[in-house]
């Protein structure tokens, strides 16, 4: 962003963000390398604009409710491990907004994004400036070494490509995050995100066309592709996010366990089962997918249990 662009971004933010949110984007921990970028290319102004957009979606479109934010570490490295879904993968952005606005002090979740996105102009630049990092093991290790809060979807792109009847049935977790957590002694926070897997019900996947286009899947939904790009606008499913107590595998396993494929697979399965249990539990408590009628109690900032809802 040019210097003039940065000035305009701040003017925008002053008008459109609440005083609390504005203070949060001004004070979050940002390691400036000298020219307004952090070591992974995040720019405070771009991250702020992304927050502005996704905060509006978080609040008004998806009406996100969350529980257990006190389980997210306020300092030091941690890996947040949620389920992944929704065809258009904005579940990560909504969770990042949720963590940013409910955690004190605010922290940016550095998501590990599939590398295929790095090849797309505009998309790759936007993701990088907003604080996301493309999925290479070295990038994850560099992030945890620097004490960052990392968000990682062990289901990978196959998670967002689930058909509607497969919703909330987790795909097999990749094991890379366990190896890194053991090697660098990093806690893992299991997260369940309810709502994402109904926002764009995928009825079929045109796999040959996807291969031709070089994308992980080509979805057929009730609205896409016959409504064109507008068909990708997600339905206003209500989001419920739960953060579980951190799993500190490194307390029971030495760093060398990261080289044992049996241990690593077992621990990845353990995290997968935990996230699945959280999803099943949240599904059993949910009364409606959209929940458009019930007004929400305004509890800004959350209560002593770490629960938060958006004001109506």
């Amino acid at each position: 962003m040019t210097l003039e662009g940065r000035r305009i971004a701040w003017k925008f933010a002053e008008r459109l963000l609440s005083p609390g949110d504005l203070a949060a984007v001004q004070r979050f921990d940002f390691q400036d390398l000298g020219y307004g970028y952090d070591p992974f290319g995040m720019e405070r102004e771009s991250a702020m604009l992304a927050y502005l957009v996704f905060n509006a979606l978080h609040r008004h479109w998806f009406r996100v409710e969350s529980r257990g934010i006190q389980n997210v570490p306020t300092t030091g490295p941690a890996i947040l491990v949620p389920n992944h879904g929704g065809v258009v993968p904005i579940d990560g952005a909504l969770m990042a907004v949720d963590v940013f606005k409910n955690l004190d002090p605010p922290r940016v979740v550095r998501y590990i994004v599939d590398t295929f996105a790095a090849g797309f102009p505009f998309v790759s630049t936007f993701l990088s400036r907003a604080g996301q990092v493309f999925g290479d093991r070295k990038n994850v290790e560099d992030l945890v070494r620097r004490g960052e809060l990392v968000g990682l979807f062990p289901e990978g792109a196959k998670g967002t490509g689930k058909l509607f009847h497969e919703r909330y049935r987790l795909r097999r977790f990749n094991v890379g995050f366990i190896e890194i957590a053991l090697r660098h002694r990093v806690p893992i926070v299991p997260v369940s995100i309810l709502g994402s897997e109904e926002q764009a019900p995928m009825l079929a996947n045109l796999a040959p066309l996807a291969r031709l286009m070089g994308v992980p899947y080509f979805p057929i939904t009730p609205t896409f592709p016959h409504l064109g790009p507008l068909g990708l606008i997600p339905l206003p499913a209500k989001y419920h996010i739960t953060y579980e107590t951190p799993l500190r595998f490194y307390e029971e396993h030495p760093p060398s366990a990261a080289d044992d494929p049996v241990v690593v697979r077992m621990l990845a399965d353990k995290v997968q089962v935990r996230v699945q249990e959280m999803l099943d539990d949240a599904l059993s408590q949910r009364e409606s997918i959209f929940d458009l009628g019930s007004p929400l109690e305004p509890r800004p900032g959350g209560n002593e249990n770490g629960d938060s809802t958006n004001p109506p």
Partner: protein, 346 residues
């Protein structure tokens, strides 16, 4: 290949410091007429830990080397493409008399507009011939090769910070400038396990500064700075004084053979650097950049070669300097003096 071997320094008895009582190093610089060679020769000739500096390049002594102390610096014309001249250099009286124990190889075609068989011979076969002469001499204990971050392969899955073990660009379609560097580096790497001589490769980020020349200077000094539409990768720029300091440390420190990434103090995007340099970035669709760059070169509006940096204009390429920091003790200290630097501070 980035692991260090048992170090061998003249008179080394442990430690890797630049201690006072350690014997002085006597250095041969090839390509001393290049910008880096000139700065290095002047710097080393003034360094009390360096005994003597022998500088070589084809042709008569450049004027800018005339002022150096003749007791500490000597220029010898020599073309590393001519085996007889190289042999004469290594068997000559000056080489033996001054006890040359370190060779810094800078004789490399620095501009991508020079291409072809002769350039390849200088870059690759010249490096090979020089390395072989150094090993045969039995006197040279360290060979320092100045390389570039252009050797790294860049694609969407490349990490933000590349360490010395990252994949190199072996693409046969890559520009000759890149291919020659990769080939010369591989020759150096293949000699790293040789007995009696350490081979140190320094991979530098883009060197930028006044009167320095090079790709990034040409890019940011062009009348228009064109970039790929939709991309704005991070770049790291290194100051010439940091380059010289890294080479100096590679000469003096007892590191053994190894590869070191050397980055500078300035990291920002293409757009930001262009703005700091008082230029406005113009974004064009990627497939037009090559054509526009060709036209600008034909019109003498730029010396920049887009084909060399095609991938760098899309993907971030920053260097992980952990090894250089921990083993060489290198840390960048100088920032590039941009024209509009004060504008940013304001």
């Amino acid at each position: 290949m980035a692991t260090a071997r048992t170090p061998r320094e003249p008179g080394a008895k442990g430690g890797n410091g630049e201690g006072r009582n350690r014997p002085k190093h006597n250095v041969l610089i090839t390509g001393v007429s290049s910008t880096a060679g000139r700065h290095l020769a002047m710097h080393l000739a003034a360094d009390p830990r360096i005994g003597f500096v022998l500088g070589t390049a084809p042709g008569p002594r450049p004027r800018f080397l005339a002022g150096l102390d003749p007791k500490r610096f000597l220029y010898l014309p020599s073309d590393i493409l001519r085996p007889r001249q190289v042999r004469d250099l290594f068997h000559g009286a000056h080489f033996k008399e001054h006890g040359i124990d370190t060779v810094v190889h800078l004789a490399f075609v620095s501009h991508p507009n020079l291409k072809g068989r002769k350039v390849h011979r200088l870059n690759v076969e010249g490096t090979k011939g020089l390395l072989d002469r150094c090993m045969e001499s039995g006197r040279v204990r360290k060979f320092v090769f100045k390389s570039s971050d252009a050797v790294y392969k860049l694609d969407p899955s490349t990490p933000v910070y590349l360490d010395e073990n990252a994949d190199l660009n072996h693409d046969p379609e890559a520009d000759q400038w890149v291919q020659d560097r990769v080939a010369a580096e591989m020759i150096c790497r293949s000699r790293m396990d040789s007995a009696g001589m350490d081979v140190v490769i320094l991979r530098f980020a883009s060197i930028v500064g006044r009167n320095v020349g090079g790709q990034m200077n040409a890019y940011f000094d062009g009348r228009f700075v064109f970039k790929a539409l939709g991309y704005d990768p991070l770049l790291n720029l290194v100051h010439m004084k940091d380059v010289i300091e890294a080479i100096r440390l590679a000469i003096l420190k007892n590191t053994g053979s190894g590869i070191f990434n050397i980055a500078g103090a300035d990291t920002a995007t293409v757009t930001t650097f262009a703005e700091l340099n008082g230029r406005r970035c113009i974004a064009l669709p990627e497939h037009l950049l090559e054509v526009v760059n060709w036209a600008m070169r034909r019109l003498k509006m730029t010396d920049y070669y887009y084909s060399v940096d095609r991938d760098r204009m899309r993907y971030t390429c920053l260097l992980d300097t952990t090894r250089a920091r921990e083993i060489l003790g290198y840390a960048p200290t100088r920032s590039i003096e941009f024209r509009e630097y004060r504008g940013l501070e304001g």
